[in-house]
Assembly symmetry: C2
Homo-oligomer: 336 residues x 2
């Protein structure tokens, strides 16, 4: 009974996603679905890419942040929002807050890449730096929230954030119906599970039973392990990956029950596969995709799906990659 | 009287562009219009990008080729098509012919990049190589056309090719009207003028008098010089540019009267500006844009438009760039 979720008490209901889509209409980019007939021939099946790397701020995070902040009332908007993130969530919250004229404070590690700090500030956010070794970002966040009354925008364990990311699923359903396509499988990058749970929920209404896969970096496949074990398990830290956006050690408290309840399954890919996928995105789709954004494409190129009758849809979730790393990957360096 | 073109006997009429759009619907990618609010703030005006680099085959050339080949009758289709090109036109013709099940022969220089030869062959085209130093590609093309009866698809001086490229203009009008935007200026990369004349013609119906600019590489600014002189003049060859797609020495016989008749003006950019524009496309739009595809963006970043009240629209026309060159540009090498 994988689709009896309405009665399972998920933190998010499908009407929340539809409401989010209405809020985001005309604000978020309706990112295109792309394909490469030549790549399809090489793969032996039809691969469709949802190019969410073309979203405002270069990642899907803008959708969830905007959907959450847009629902604050006038008093809460005045008190502002706070988030802690070194990456895409920081820029997503800063941009959404800027567009909604809400003050934002972003707590970032002092060793975060300067470009990410600069971009977050360029959106008008107040950036508070902390020392990753000696300070606890959640404690700092809670202290600032306590003092200012600012609302905390969590990166994934927040119903309205999950609903916002789910609009990618809704949008893709519309786009694929225009193409006359029902995919054989949908493959989604996974960190804390906000993106994948939102998309899986949106798809479950229109295509009940459609296979959805989360993809994580090897050594950070907590979601795959948790789904296999039917309970949240953490991976031991200590591994490394170029997928800086996907290093969450455990699935979310709210996101995991959705993934589990909908029968989502998890797979993992190596950094080497991710590099190949980034080169493929460059060559075959003319897209800049960051490592964490390319894991789903990597899984498809790895042969996770063998010549299905219907197309496979991959979400490419972000494009915020350091130019020097991107250049190295194009030159084929650093690949084992 | 710049818009009395219906009576001026242009080779292409605006209904040809509308008919081309109908032929291309559901076949060509409806490429997105993108913007970066952070870049807008840095520039001091709103810049919109028509991301035609995301088109099938990685450039706008697919549109014109498909529109031309789709109009051949059954007998002509059986005899096939022929084109000579080392670059984007080759892939555009090969792909369009493949989708329409028409045999294609592409005459390419034997020193063309292997990836371009491979891609053209992957689309099923018969590739005929010639020696750039000792052989004349037009003579080879005409000989093959004479023997086989294949129809020659010219890269720009062909009414149905111009009409196909013009669909970018029509599509952009629709997209900008959805955004409630009338641009202050439209900026288009220019080689032989097929793209720019088609777009200028499409726009002239909906936004009469809108300023359209062609952009060329410095030393290959034959269109700018011709427009200034009100007659077709050739640039002397001998210069070099990384914009391999834009090295035509003289505007087209059919394209130039359209550009001139519509009051289009021309500007030129340096390779250094082009490199900066490619980095900007990577960083701010997450797009892979080839040198020739980035010249219009380069002109906008150079300050060709100073804080206009309405947005400036730039066409990014292609993304077929060698990964090693792209990596060098990201690393800031080779920039004077």
């Amino acid at each position: 009974m994988p689709f009896s979720h309405e009665s399972e008490g998920f933190a998010v209901a499908t009407p929340d996603i539809e409401a989010a889509a209405t809020r985001l209409a005309g604000v978020a980019v309706r990112t295109p679905v792309l394909e490469s007939p030549l790549l399809n021939r090489r793969l032996g099946f039809r691969l469709l890419i949802k190019a969410e790397s073309l979203q405002l701020t270069g990642s899907f995070k803008f959708r969830g942040a905007y959907n959450a902040i847009a629902q604050l009332d006038a008093t809460a908007r005045q008190a502002g929002v706070i988030a802690y993130s070194s990456g895409n969530h920081a820029q997503g919250v800063a941009a959404a807050a800027s567009l909604l004229a809400v003050p934002a404070t972003i707590v970032m590690p002092s060793d975060a890449p300067q470009i990410k700090i600069d971009n977050t500030r360029a959106w008008g956010a107040n950036v508070v730096l902390y020392d990753r070794a000696s300070e606890d970002r959640e404690a700092i966040g809670e202290r600032i929230a306590g003092e200012s009354g600012a609302a905390l925008v969590r990166p994934y364990d927040e119903p309205q954030v999950i609903a916002g990311q789910g609009t990618i699923g809704l949008e893709t359903v519309q786009q694929l119906k225009e193409l006359g396509v029902t995919p054989a499988a949908v493959v989604v990058p996974c960190g804390g599970g906000g993106l994948s749970s939102g998309i899986a929920l949106a798809l479950s209404v229109h295509w009940p039973g459609i296979p959805v896969w989360t993809v994580e970096p090897a050594d950070f496949d907590d979601t795959a392990r948790s789904l296999a074990a039917s309970r949240r398990v953490a991976v031991k830290t200590g591994g490394t990956s170029i997928c800086d956006a996907l290093l969450a050690p455990m699935p979310g408290r709210l996101t995991f029950p959705i993934l589990k309840g909908l029968g989502v399954r998890g797979i993992a890919v190596t950094d080497e596969s991710v590099r190949r996928a980034m080169s493929c995105a460059f060559r075959d789709f003319k897209l800049v995709v960051e490592p964490g954004g390319a894991v789903a494409l990597a899984a498809a190129l790895d042969g996770a799906f063998e010549a299905p009758q219907e197309p496979v849809l991959c979400v490419c979730s972000g494009g915020n990659v350091d130019p020097i790393l991107f250049a190295e990957i194009l030159r084929g360096r650093g690949t084992k």
